[in-house]
Each structure stands twice: as structure tokens, then as C-alpha cells.
């Protein structure tokens, strides 16, 4: 898998973050994200970013997170530049705010995906009442992304091995070249999805409207603490205003 996608690949580790219920992790990431979007203050953004980074560090996933950071850096630079140019008034503060915000949002998002297996995620969704057809679709799309990536690689290798040059010609020609790649890929993936559908049938998928589960999610003490913390984070953008008020 290429490095930017690394962010979404769950590597099993046994840390406090991994042991949390996916729902409380989701709440935590979501509150960080919401707080970052809501808060117009530079200092607060720095606090959120630091918090998210700290949590990733606590989950021992810093090494996995850095490639993502590198991959999004050009994007952040672009956001910064665009805001610097197009914002009237105090462009520097605003541009920095937007750039930081982008970092915080991606980091809190990453925090969730790095510490939650796709299985757990769909379990959480099912718990929230999403039917299994959809949660399974979700699990499987994550499960088959690397497989698809491998297929792309193999087909490309085969095409190059037949003496074909993908980067030959002008832009239009190049776009056409990719059709050669797409045809076998599409045919193969359609075949694959048929095989998957067969295999699902053979495992009694759809036998009852109410499938049971081996694992059921249970909130534990730490989860409740995290939920409370998340609530606090969510309302924290209001903190400066409240503090100011009390000083006055």
C-alpha cells in the first residue's frame, strides 16, 4: 500500500486507546474535530492538535502517522498560501488558523482509524442500528482496498511487460493508455465480486433478519471517562468566551 493510505490501516497493538470501545473513540475524535472547526482561536487550535498528537503517541502510532503528515503537508501549504492571498484584513493569523485546523482535523480523524479495526467500526455501526448489509459492505470495502491495490499493481506490471508505455504521448493519448489498464481490472473485479457474493451465500448470509454477534460492545469505566472528556472538549471552544466574561 502506498504511504498516504497507511493512515487507515489498522496495525494491532495493545494500548489504552485500542482497548476503548469504538463508540467512545469515535466520540473523542468527533469532539476534537468539532471543537477544531468551531474554535476561531489560534491557541485553542494548538491545544487540540497537541491533544490529538498526544493521543496518537499514547497509542504508539506516531511512526505510522508521520507519512500521512508528510503526505498532507503540500495540501496544508496550499491552504495557507490561498488564505494568505485571498483573506482581507489579518491574513497571516487567519491563514495560520486554517492550516492548523486542517492538521487537527486530519489528525483526529487519523487517531480513530489507526486505533480501530474495520470490524470494530462496523460493530459500532451495527450497535447504533445500521443494518448488517451496510456495515458488512463497509467492512468489506476496507478489507478489499489492499487487494484491489495489488491487482492494479499486477495488471500494470503485465502491461509494461508487454512493451507498453503508459506515459507515452500527449495528455489525451496518456489518458487513453490507461484504458488498457482499466479493461482487465474492471472485468477481474466484477468476477471477484461475483465470487464474493457466492461465498457470502455459502456462509448463510441473510438467513435471519436478526443476525447475532460473537462480540458485543460493552462500555467500561474508561469509556465513560473518555465520553465525559469528549463532552468537555466539544464545549471547550466556548471556554475563552466564558473565561473572558468572568474576568470582566
Amino acid at each position: 500500500m502506498s504511504s498516504p493510505l497507511q493512515a487507515f490501516k489498522y496495525v494491532p497493538k495493545d494500548t489504552f486507546m485500542d482497548r476503548l470501545d469504538p463508540r467512545s473513540k469515535f466520540a473523542l475524535s468527533l469532539s476534537l474535530l468539532a471543537a477544531s472547526l468551531a474554535s476561531p482561536q489560534l491557541t485553542m487550535q494548538l491545544v487540540y492538535l497537541a491533544l490529538a498528537t498526544l493521543l496518537i503517541a499514547a497509542a504508539k502510532r506516531l511512526a505510522q502517522w508521520t507519512p500521512t503528515l508528510k503526505a498532507i503537508s503540500p495540501l496544508v501549504a496550499a491552504i495557507f498560501a490561498a488564505n494568505l492571498i485571498f483573506t482581507p484584513g489579518m491574513p497571516l493569523t487567519y491563514a495560520t488558523l486554517m492550516a492548523l485546523r486542517f492538521f487537527t482535523v486530519t489528525t483526529s480523524f487519523t487517531l480513530f482509524f489507526l486505533t480501530t479495526t474495520p470490524d470494530d467500526l462496523s460493530l459500532a455501526l451495527e450497535e447504533m442500528g445500521v443494518p448488517r448489509e451496510y456495515t458488512l459492505m463497509f467492512t468489506m470495502s476496507l478489507r478489499f482496498v489492499p487487494t484491489l491495490a495489488d491487482d492494479v499493481e499486477t495488471v500494470t506490471a503485465a502491461l509494461l511487460s508487454r512493451g507498453f508505455q503508459l506515459d507515452r504521448g500527449n495528455i489525451i493519448q496518456r489518458a487513453k493508455n490507461y484504458v488498457y489498464l482499466l479493461v482487465p481490472l474492471i472485468i477481474y473485479e466484477v468476477r471477484r465480486s461475483l465470487m464474493i457474493a457466492e461465498a457470502l451465500e455459502a456462509r448463510a448470509f441473510g438467513a435471519t433478519k436478526k443476525p447475532t454477534r460473537l462480540y458485543t460492545l460493552k462500555m467500561k469505566k474508561p469509556d465513560y471517562l473518555v465520553l465525559i472528556a469528549s463532552a468537555l472538549i466539544a464545549v471547550s471552544p466556548l471556554a475563552p468566551a466564558i473565561l473572558n466574561l468572568s474576568i470582566i
Partner: protein
């Protein structure tokens, strides 16, 4: 010495982008005109290794020379002219609308003159027994036929070195006989051939040398009869000796028949009968 090697692999290490080290220091030299088999358990790195032969994968460390040319310094499209690879799954390598175009496709990419393309396409389709399907879509052929089509597409452009990844996996007996014929043809054409396979029974008849891989390393490289009569070595690479070798091994322990070279049915039968008549 150097010019004699068609493929020269030196201290090759390869790490996939995800961080998995699939090759951990591989050394291998394949002579011109040599016919070798690379064998080994699932995941031992066979496919990863052969993908280096035409440069679709580049070494993380070490180097690969084709006819003395470093694969890192030559584009894949040029190396492929010399090294034809037939990958394992035919469905990953069918690009054209018709069977005819499929065989013509590489030759067109390599700039063969039109007349030559026509002539060779026809010849190789006939050779592989696919000529009657020439106007069909490749995807309408059976698995065995699709496999043969991908072999035809590579043979037709006449690369000096031919690499086949698992040509017999999932093939029925009759298809195997077909592919067997192709192997004999390659032998008589004195091509350099590398075949990756799990199929002992199939491979022993053709190859000069068997290279065994295990966990990203080459663990043995020797003539078929040396490898085949060494069951513990084979087992370390996830393989079993072919049936006749297994039989010969048991019989030689009992002093009934001791194979000098690859065991043959006739020899075993004669040895047993001789002993019986005594």
C-alpha cells in the same frame, strides 16, 4: 564469464512499500540457454524475484543484470523486449478485444513491421491451437485457453529469455500436455527459460536446474536428481518429491533399486522383476 549469464542477480534485497521484506539477499546466475525451475512454498518470494527480471520491480538493495545490463538503468519497455514474462493469472494480462490482437499487441508495442506481426501472430495462434478463436474476445475462452493465449502473446515476440509464473496451476491434464509441448519447443529453440512452479511431476522432465526458495532466500540450487532425492530439503521448501522419486527412495533404502539419475518407470520395473526372478 559475465557475458555468459543471461540473468545475474546479486545480493538482491526487496522490501515492499508496506515494509515487508520479501527478498533477503538473493544471488542467482542463469546461463544463456539454461532451463531452470524456481520452486518454493507459498509466499517464499518467487513472484517477487521474477518481477525483477524485466525491471517492473527494482532492487531495494543489490542489483539485477540482464545480459550485463543493470535493470535500474533501463526502462521496462526495453528490458521486456529481452525478457518475456507470463504472469500467473491470465485475467491480469488480457488487454485486447480479440484473440488475434492480444498476440499482436506486444509486437506492435515493440514496433515490429506489420507483415511480420501478421505472420507471427498467425503462426503462434496455430501453434497454441487457438487460431480458430482469432476473432473472439479473449474473455470468452476457458481458463486453460486464456493461459495458453498469454503464453502465445509472449512467445510470438521472440524474447531471448522467457519467464513463466505457475504455468500449470489449476490446469487440467490435457492443458498440461499442451503446455508440456510448449516446454519441449522452448528447449529445442534453446531459449533461456525460467519457470516458477509447485508442480514437481511436471517440471523434472525439462529443467537443467532447480532453485529452491524459502522465506525470501535461495536455499538450494542443483540438478533435478540431486534435489528430488533429498526429501528433507524439499520439505523445507513446502514441496514433495515426485511419485517415482518417492518410490525409488523407499526401494533404495531396502536395497532393491538405487537410482543413478532421475528414476524412470521402466528402470524401476526392471529392477524389481530382476530381484523377483532371483
Amino acid at each position: 564469464m559475465e557475458s555468459e549469464a543471461a540473468i545475474q542477480v546479486e545480493n538482491l534485497r526487496y522490501v515492499y512499500p508496506g515494509g515487508y521484506e520479501a527478498l533477503k539477499g538473493v544471488n542467482l546466475a542463469v546461463k544463456k540457454g539454461e532451463f531452470i525451475a524456481i520452486m518454493g512454498e507459498n509466499g517464499s518470494g518467487k513472484t517477487t524475484l521474477i518481477k525483477h527480471f524485466n525491471g517492473v520491480l527494482k532492487p531495494t538493495e543489490g542489483r539485477v543484470l540482464i545480459d550485463g545490463v543493470d535493470t535500474r538503468e533501463t526502462p521496462v519497455s526495453k528490458l521486456s523486449r529481452k525478457v518475456g514474462i507470463v504472469f500467473q493469472n491470465p485475467d491480469h494480462q488480457l488487454f485486447s478485444e480479440t484473440v488475434w490482437d492480444e498476440v499482436a499487441f506486444p509486437m506492435k508495442n515493440f514496433g515490429f513491421p506489420e507483415q511480420v506481426v501478421k505472420e507471427r501472430t498467425e503462426r503462434f495462434l496455430k501453434l497454441m491451437g487457438l487460431y480458430s478463436y482469432r476473432d473472439k474476445s479473449p474473455y470468452l475462452l476457458s481458463l486453460g485457453e486464456r493461459k495458453r493465449l498469454t503464453i502465445a502473446a509472449v512467445l510470438a515476440y521472440d524474447p531471448e529469455i522467457i519467464v513463466l509464473d505457475e504455468p500449470t496451476a489449476g490446469q487440467d491434464y490435457i492443458q498440461k500436455e499442451h503446455i508440456s509441448g510448449t516446454m519441449n519447443l522452448l528447449r529445442t529453440m534453446q531459449k533461456t527459460v525460467v519457470i516458477v512452479t509447485h508442480d514437481m511431476e511436471f517440471v523434472v522432465q525439462y529443467v537443467d536446474r532447480i532453485v529452491l526458495m524459502s522465506r525470501g532466500r535461495i536455499v538450494a540450487s542443483a540438478s533435478p536428481h540431486e534435489v528430488l532425492l533429498n526429501p528433507s530439503l524439499l520439505a523445507s521448501a513446502g514441496l514433495m518429491p515426485p511419485q517415482l522419486a518417492r518410490l525409488a527412495l523407499q526401494l533404495s533404502r531396502a536395497g532393491i533399486y538405487t537410482p543413478r539419475r532421475l528414476p524412470e518407470t521402466g528402470e524401476i520395473v526392471d529392477a524389481v522383476l530382476k530381484r523377483w526372478h532371483r
